[in-house]
Point group: C2
Chain length 309, copies 2
């Protein structure tokens, strides 16, 4: 059975998606990716003040994207936020065509989004999640491997094994995410059966990304062993090694209680690193692909490197 190509599904030239990084995926970054032939993704929280209003911010970002590109772009909605339902409701009033959902059950909103003519891709990290998402009628799944930055699946399945198993298991198109930063990764993902790829960390280190320079520089400096996975007993997260993440890893390895770990983590760590540039106490998400990233580049060049290899 053949499935629709990613390019046809999203109306893009190249099957390359930009990850919907929570604090970072602004209209400017998304438009730069979309104008270069990929699929830019907006986050409702991107560019927002710490105590801002994500729904107002989402409308603002969408307005700005409209002014910056006439190409398709999407919106990323994590399904486990307090505001998820309101964000989705507010999306229905915008002329949005593509939504990426993640971190929750795709049964919740896929039908509603479809009823508004919105194409839905859902992030999964195991074969059973992919099958479930397909049964919920999502249009594509994004198979995110253990190598990805930020939140990762508890199954800890690297892309090399996850991707072909997901491709075997579902009929809908599969987009590969995690560990990809250049043309070799793009070609390898296609060889493993993906219809497209999604890149997060590579686009953090882009000229258009609002990530703090310290964060971008830390990605360039990371090397192959520069990331660590913490919070394995709740929601595993891959971050750059830092005072914060290594202290957290040490606490977890010594069997510290969930309460003391939660207290240590506190709130606002991701924003502190990613927007404020505090690379000591902040939590800077990054995938294993960081070791492949040696330059801050314009988004259009990143896409060109991928597809012209």
């Amino acid at each position: 059975m053949t499935s629709k190509s990613i390019c046809d599904l999203f109306g893009v030239r190249y099957p390359v998606l930009q990850g919907g990084m929570l604090w970072l995926a602004t209209a400017e970054l998304a438009a730069a990716v979309s104008n270069a032939g990929g699929l830019g993704i907006i986050s409702p929280y991107a560019g927002m003040k710490e105590n801002g209003h994500p729904i107002r911010n989402l409308h603002l970002q969408i307005d700005r994207a409209r002014n910056l590109t006439n190409k398709p772009y999407g919106v990323n909605i994590p399904l486990d936020l307090h505001a998820s339902g309101l964000l989705i409701d507010s999306l229905l009033k915008e002329n949005i065509k593509i939504v990426i959902t993640a971190a929750g059950d795709p049964r919740l909103y896929t039908e509603l989004l479809h009823s508004a003519g919105i194409c839905v891709a859902h992030v999964i990290s195991s074969v059973s999640q992919a099958r479930h998402a397909e049964s919920c009628k999502v249009d594509a799944v994004i198979a995110e491997g253990f190598e990805a930055g930020g939140r990762i699946g508890r199954e800890e399945l690297p892309l090399f094994s996850l991707l072909p198993q997901v491709v075997n298991a579902v009929y809908i198109p599969v987009i590969a995410a995690g560990g990809i930063a250049d043309g070799r990764g793009f070609a390898a993902a296609l060889a493993l059966g993906a219809g497209g790829v999604q890149l997060g960390t590579r686009f953090v280190a882009s000229e258009e990304c609002i990530a703090h320079h310290n964060y971008k520089q830390a990605i360039l400096d990371a090397g192959d062993s520069g990331t660590v996975v913490t919070r394995r007993s709740s929601i595993p997260i891959r971050s750059l090694k830092s005072d914060f993440s290594m202290k957290l890893a040490a606490m977890e390895n010594s069997g510290a209680s969930g309460e003391s770990i939660g207290k240590f983590i506190g709130r606002g760590r991701a924003r502190k690193a990613q927007i404020d540039g505090d690379m000591t106490d902040g939590d800077a998400y990054a995938g294993c692909s960081a070791g492949l990233i040696k330059e801050i580049l314009p988004a259009a060049v990143i896409i060109e490197i991928l597809v012209k290899a």
Copy 2:
């Protein structure tokens, strides 16, 4: 700078290596792989009785391989065994052309092996290990990703990120290991810059492998989430989920002492599963590729599936 191809280096038709699985890599398996155009690898411990003599067994295996194939094959020597030095010494008296070293410093024996005209490939799991192995003049590195079965690197780097970084870092050929079971994985490894691949778990589930049927069947049944990594604080090992491995994981997660963990593990767990077929109390090594393996096949068919895709 161009480096020698894996086929030229080893004198084989296809750049496909069989992993040197400690208890399992017999002359029969190695010869079947070599006769099919790949590179079979013998383990000094394969087919040996529990308290057997690895040096005598190695000679026996080599004698048998000589009778079974006139194609090239290699011997796998983990460098952290008590017998490693004696095994290498005894190898020098045999007409062996290829040795795979692992789990130790390649500085120890590479020069000695070279002086006997033996080609050396060394297993690494990070960029710094690859650079070090190259500086020790090994002829190739085997980049083993986090998805591999059995012992894995502490860095936990999946192949998608590890492989292109290693390819960038060294001039010698790089062989990809971990997570590969079919033609898609082979093609993806080549796309990421590998000159060849090494497969372990896929060859455990081969007709010629002496692995107990229960172990082979458990690989076929594993699915995508069927393996678990334990012993992260010492030498991480990826095994099939079993009563043993899941109890061990639970002890580790609850912060049990190294002493109580060591006592629980005891001795002989790998052999118990892999040779005796005790899938409850034994430790059955397997990579994430287990989820891709649905049939026990002849070694020659496994190689054909890889290279003819």
